[in-house]
Symmetry: C2
Subunit: 624 residues, 2 copies
């Protein structure tokens, strides 16, 4: 049925009765949704009905690499993992790289849907279409690196690729991650979904070759892609050598690197302590995802004190923020150690760090006392306290137990006005950009279908000053609605659906992205796409995801930002004095809904829009 | 030249100038020394002259698997590693299993001799006869598990086998180990020798097949061997399932499990807290050395408190003693975590634990004060203090710095009569048997050429009641000289030289060992051996090793035991009241030297004995 790219097969695994089913990948779905996030959202909307318990047997965990994964297209070894998020109640979707995604393709599958709930801990071993269930009772409680090694030994194959959870996922902590090798599907608590299914790990090994529809066309399209990569002044000269951590310095200079739970952004500047020079001093090697010529992943080794000798892949920029800036921790080695600990326990480094920073502010304000913390002096910058709380979170112990499900739930439990210090949207903790100085970025946090998520519609115009599709003023609100729609749609269409690396996109190939994606799609799959078709796929996915959230009860009221960002100006630095006023947010939302063709009052997609996107059935489901 | 077993090649690597040389394995050496420990001792005596600085460029690090390694003979994937010990100044030789030893054979070598000193940190990669040097500057400071993973990634081969050091070896701590996978050449500070050479790791990959001289004979000899294994009432029914940890219970019942630095042996019985039932409750899987059908290695997962989620291969019996009994630590999870920490930092678990126990007694006696410990309450049983000191030892920090080179050197620095609480022979800390209740075992500690080493002449007659060559009274001194000679010679001949697993020997095949070794040797190598020939190899190795020590200045006076064992009776339990009086030690030593044909006064081998063993050249070297 498919000329290339797709294996054409969907694997459905039910853990309740250990049944396994292979289905054909529907051609129309491939055409309309491309793959990755597209397939994830499609299955999620179609198969996980309203009000499903995210940690119950009816939630589904959908793994979907893209049509280029496993081909010679570089930077395509990624997958989306999708489920209803236990953290937000909205769409839970994240992407991860490494080698697992292509191995799943090599094993024969475009999509793997995990259903049901195993009565006892298990792990799954998939080898070229053969699915086996193995007891994971003895693996329960194990950290993620050890888990992967023990499974490799158990299977007598050091080359299986494994996605697994740590104690955090097992304990259904709502900010738990899925870890594959040292990469992660970090956010939205998908590790907890895996834990709720009693699924410790998925090990995959495959030897299929991915077919290509038109090798000559692929050669051409790849040339355009790699030329753009080679031409980038940032990608190889800087990013490959420094990794995402270099953005610490950049955002500090812009005055939008958030510090001490957003109370000192711009004013307190930690470049000297944790900037890229200090980070790079700890870099020991780089890791490459399958088929990636860049290798941005910087592996670092802590040098000093109690942390000496601790290695971590990372910390990435976002973790430099979450265990560094936002907590005020200035000890680079502590940040490296916290990153490793989070990976080993299976946490989202972002939500865990931001939740600890939230508690630090409460402690400094006296809302949490030493009695609440069990004697820990939880001031900003206390790295030892951060490590202790992080360990506690894994097992829901002490104050860590209160923070284990993220800052929104913690604030609800704590009360005393603490919610206004909880930096999240829809329950998902804010990423590392103080959007008071980058307003399209902020609007994206407010409207992204996964909560505060920089990956869904990254405003590179504001953050990197790239004038595509046009130059923008990062402090302005006007015009950001249309821009955010464009950012979300193109990002979804050219990175999340075909599962291409977002870094490459932001750093090098933005200018050619839509056309090149169309060319690559036609070359690999044989399905003809125009640039408009590609962007339409992005819009379609964003609309179906929004429809899922609307069905779950989300409305315009949920598309907002933490009170602090709407009322308190950035206190110092290059963005000093800026904030997103409530009027600006209203303006941007109006623009955004209008650009999207959504109802200005409810924020719901209209029947007309859904129908135009070939999603009329979703309008029926929503009773529009 | 060789019909089988041997590759016939010796690899000589000089780190000073990165030169590499291949030599033929001398046939006479193979015949006279078999392999493993035999080759190690032979090269050490011949090439490392008297008074060589153990941590200088002239010491050599000799890796030698055995003639059966890589064949179908089970339990033979072991190697000896030999150098002058920086801890004792005597022969430093230990064996390790796993997969590295056979991989070295597959890569083409019976012996690998590391010479010189690299100006900068390096690691070596050997692939089928090709030797490459790669910078390890960035790996310096890294823990052992991470080191192995990073090297595998660096070489893009998850199946290379790696021996490496951790921070302890890098810092030339004299109780540092060499770690391969999760196995170790633990004792005598060979990790420090590797560190002194700036050699972080050796990675090996090979695909040679090991030739067999006579396949039919091998089939027969293997059948005898495996039948003995199958017939054992201990090997598969208990040992495979429980591992060495089961000896905790056994030695507790015998009243010889040393507790609280030998002050409470027998009186304080930790079976309920750390006995095999508790250990097994933590067992998650078993690991097998290459070609081993038993798989005694029990991988355990800590369950509680700060240690929860920590995995370790082990702790083996000796570690249950060193981080458990002798320190009085009763927290099984702390012992698991300390075992992992020691593996990661690259420590001998035995010497490190016993050195900490020594400090604990000094603290309890007031010889070390809270000022000395930096505020740590270093009482027996304080698991957190043990972990802290162990971490400190890696970097020579705090009190850990004082203990980092073992209890003998620490006692010299501390003074104040502390030496009498330091439980070592020749600087090597005592293993886990209170030999006041097992006197041949004690005589072996006193006379073993590596210091207090249970592996060199294990008195299974006393410990397990096995009546081979005859029944003995473990409390008696008389007759133990001859027995110890026999134990040392047969152990060396049938396990250390052919690098067969000592556990299998002790548990299952003692009765047939000498004949079977002769049969296996003839079948694999084509060289004919009688039972006497085999035992003679053992005696030859023991004599040449002794000659090395004599040349270094060791005399009869060094063949002794810690004062406590010679003066204080075991305070409670099944061995209550027993000790080895100085008269008994004298009697046993006289017997032993007489049986060995050594000078009763100096303890030196005689010219006659050396000549009879085809070692006349050693007599010349010693000016006998």
């Amino acid at each position: 049925m498919y000329k290339g790219g797709y294996t054409g097969k969907v694997l459905r695994i039910n853990l309740t009765d250990q049944s396994v089913k292979e289905e054909d990948l529907p051609f129309q779905m491939a055409k309309d949704f491309i793959g990755g996030a597209g397939f994830g959202i499609k299955y999620l909307f179609d198969e996980v009905p309203a009000n499903t318990d995210a940690l119950g047997p009816d939630n589904k965990l959908i793994f979907s690499p893209g049509p280029f994964s496993g081909t010679t297209v570089p930077c395509a070894s990624r997958m989306a993992v999708t489920a209803k998020s236990p953290l937000t109640g909205a769409v839970g979707m994240g992407l991860s790289g490494g080698h697992f995604p292509v191995e799943l393709k090599f094993a024969g599958y475009d999509v793997m849907i995990i259903e049901g709930q195993s009565p006892e801990p298990v792990y799954i071993f998939i080898k070229n279409g053969d699915v086996k269930f193995r007891s994971a009772k003895k693996l329960w409680g194990m950290k993620t690196t050890d888990t992967q090694q023990i499974i490799k030994n158990d299977l007598k194959d050091q080359n299986v690729r494994i996605a697994c959870i740590g104690p955090a996922g097992e304990n259904q902590i709502k900010i738990a991650a899925i870890i594959n090798e040292w990469r992660a599907v970090g956010r939205k608590g998908l590790g907890a979904v895996m834990g709720s299914k009693n699924l410790k790990a998925i090990a995959v090994r495959g030897s299929d070759k991915i077919q290509i529809a038109d090798k000559d066309k692929l050669k051409q399209a790849k040339k355009v892609f790699t030329t753009a990569m080679n031409d980038s002044e940032v990608l190889y000269p800087a990013f490959a050598k420094l990794g995402t951590g270099m953005v610490v310095d950049h955002t500090c200079h812009m005055g939008i690197f958030p510090t001490k739970n957003y109370t000192t952004t711009g004013e307190y500047d930690p470049i000297e302590k944790i900037g890229v020079a200090v980070q790079t001093d700890r870099t020991v090697t780089r890791e490459h995802c399958y088929g990636c010529p860049v290798g941005c992943s910087q592996v670092k080794l802590a040098k000093t004190g109690d942390y000496a000798g601790t290695l971590s892949e990372g910390p990435e920029f976002e973790t430099m923020y979450s265990f560094g800036g936002v907590t005020g921790v200035e000890n680079i080695d502590a940040i490296i150690a916290a990153d490793r600990l989070a990976d080993e326990m299976g946490f989202d480094t972002m939500s865990s760090g931001v939740s600890i920073a939230f508690a630090m502010e409460l402690y400094e304000k006296g809302i949490l006392t030493k009695e609440d913390t069990g004697g820990i002096e939880l001031n900003f910058g206390n790295d030892k306290a951060m490590m202790t709380i992080l360990k506690q979170m894994s097992y829901r112990e002490g104050l860590g137990g209160l923070l284990a499900d993220g800052s929104k739930i913690a604030a609800q439990k704590i009360g005393k006005g603490s919610e206004k210090y909880a930096m999240h949207v829809k329950g998902l903790e804010l990423p590392a950009y103080d959007v008071r100085g980058a307003k399209a970025h902020g609007l994206n946090y407010a409207t992204s279908f996964t909560g505060a998520d920089h990956c869904r519609g990254y405003a590179f115009q504001e953050v990197f000053g790239i004038p595509i599709p046009k130059e923008v003023d990062r402090f302005a609100a006007k015009g950001k609605g249309e821009l955010t729609k464009w950012n979300q749609d193109i990002r979804t269409a050219v990175t999340d659906a075909p599962t291409m690396c977002g870094f490459i996109f932001d750093m090098a190939v933005i200018g050619i992205a839509a056309q090149n994606t169309a060319d690559l799609m036609e070359a690999v799959t044989g399905i003809a796409y125009t640039t408009d078709d590609v962007l339409l796929v992005g819009e379609r996915i964003n609309n179906l995801a929004r429809a899922f959230n609307v069905r779950e009860g989300f409305t315009r009221a949920d598309d907002t930002l933490p009170e602090r960002l709407l009322t308190e100006p950035i206190p110092g630095g290059a963005s000093k004095g800026h904030f997103i006023s409530k009027e600006e947010l209203k303006l941007m939302l109006d623009e955004y809904y209008t650009a999207r063709g959504w109802n200005l009052e409810t924020g719901s997609p209209s029947r007309e829009k859904l129908t135009a996107l070939n999603l009329a059935y979703a309008a029926d489901v929503l009773n529009l």
